[in-house]
């Protein structure tokens, strides 16, 4: 899975490409510990190129969401593909993670 940082501005923009499966979620967890928490700001993840998510990925997202909340920061997603959105809805994650259709919508 490919994870990259947006440049410059707040919040922390992260783009995750590929698959958030068992392997991908382990990579994301490491990245979160090394890059996200030390950044100390709100986080927006762009899922436009995320094609797959399994429960391992959901676990990582849940931990990230809780972890940021405990530190007083917010976590949101944008640009989620329909079939991925379905997984989030079935799991009830859309009840505590704001999901925007675009980055622009988040900024409003």
């Amino acid at each position: 899975m490919e994870i990259s940082l947006g440049k410059g501005k707040k919040p922390l923009f992260i783009t995750a490409k590929g698959r958030l499966d068992t392997t991908g979620s382990a990579e994301l967890e490491t990245w979160v510990a090394e890059t996200v928490y030390p950044y100390k700001d709100n986080v927006l993840m762009d899922f436009s190129e995320l094609d797959y998510v399994s429960s391992a990925g959901l676990r990582t997202i849940l931990n990230l969401s809780k972890g940021l909340k405990e530190k007083g920061f917010s976590f949101a997603l944008c640009c989620v593909q329909d079939h991925i959105l379905e997984v989030f809805e079935i799991s009830g994650f859309d009840s505590f993670i704001p999901i925007f259709t675009s980055r622009g919508e988040y900024s409003l």
Binding site: D21, T22, T23, S54, S55, L62, K69, V87, S91, S95
Partner: protein
């Protein structure tokens, strides 16, 4: 005409990587749509991850077989781990607030959502899970 495939994976994280590769091959040879492929992949990944975490050292190789006839896909996952019936796992409470949410149970919840039926049996010291899924009339 019935299409059939069977393969085995190790009950380790590397085995899950093999699983994804195998599903990708089957997607191509059976001409599954991206949506169908993703759902099949998810069902199998979740089951195998559960086998790995509950099966213990005895899980050994996990055998997965798929057959497709008249748009009905039947998948069978067999392992030699400790008895574990995925179908009786408790569903997560998806309405809890984030502070109380736990990740446990989500995999099983997803398998149930994307499958039309799931049947568990234990025979010859093996866990055998049979999943049926109707593939919508896209292209099979």
């Amino acid at each position: 005409m019935t299409k059939k495939e069977e393969f085995a994976i190790a009950s380790t994280a590397a085995g899950i990587v093999t699983l994804h590769e195998q599903v990708k091959n089957i997607t191509t040879s059976w001409n599954l749509s991206n949506k169908q492929s993703g759902e099949v992949n998810l069902i199998l990944e979740e089951i195998c991850v559960n086998v790995i975490s509950h099966g213990g050292k005895r899980a050994g190789k996990i055998t997965i077989s798929l057959s497709l006839e008249n748009s009905v896909l039947i998948m069978t996952v067999t392992d030699s781990g400790y008895p574990f019936d995925l179908t009786s796992a408790a569903a997560p409470d998806v309405r809890l607030p984030v502070e109380k949410r736990k990740a446990g149970g989500l995999g099983v919840h997803l398998v149930k959502h994307y499958s039309d039926s799931i049947f568990y049996e234990r025979a010859d010291e093996k866990n055998i899970l049979t999943i049926e899924k109707k593939l919508n009339q896209e292209k099979v």
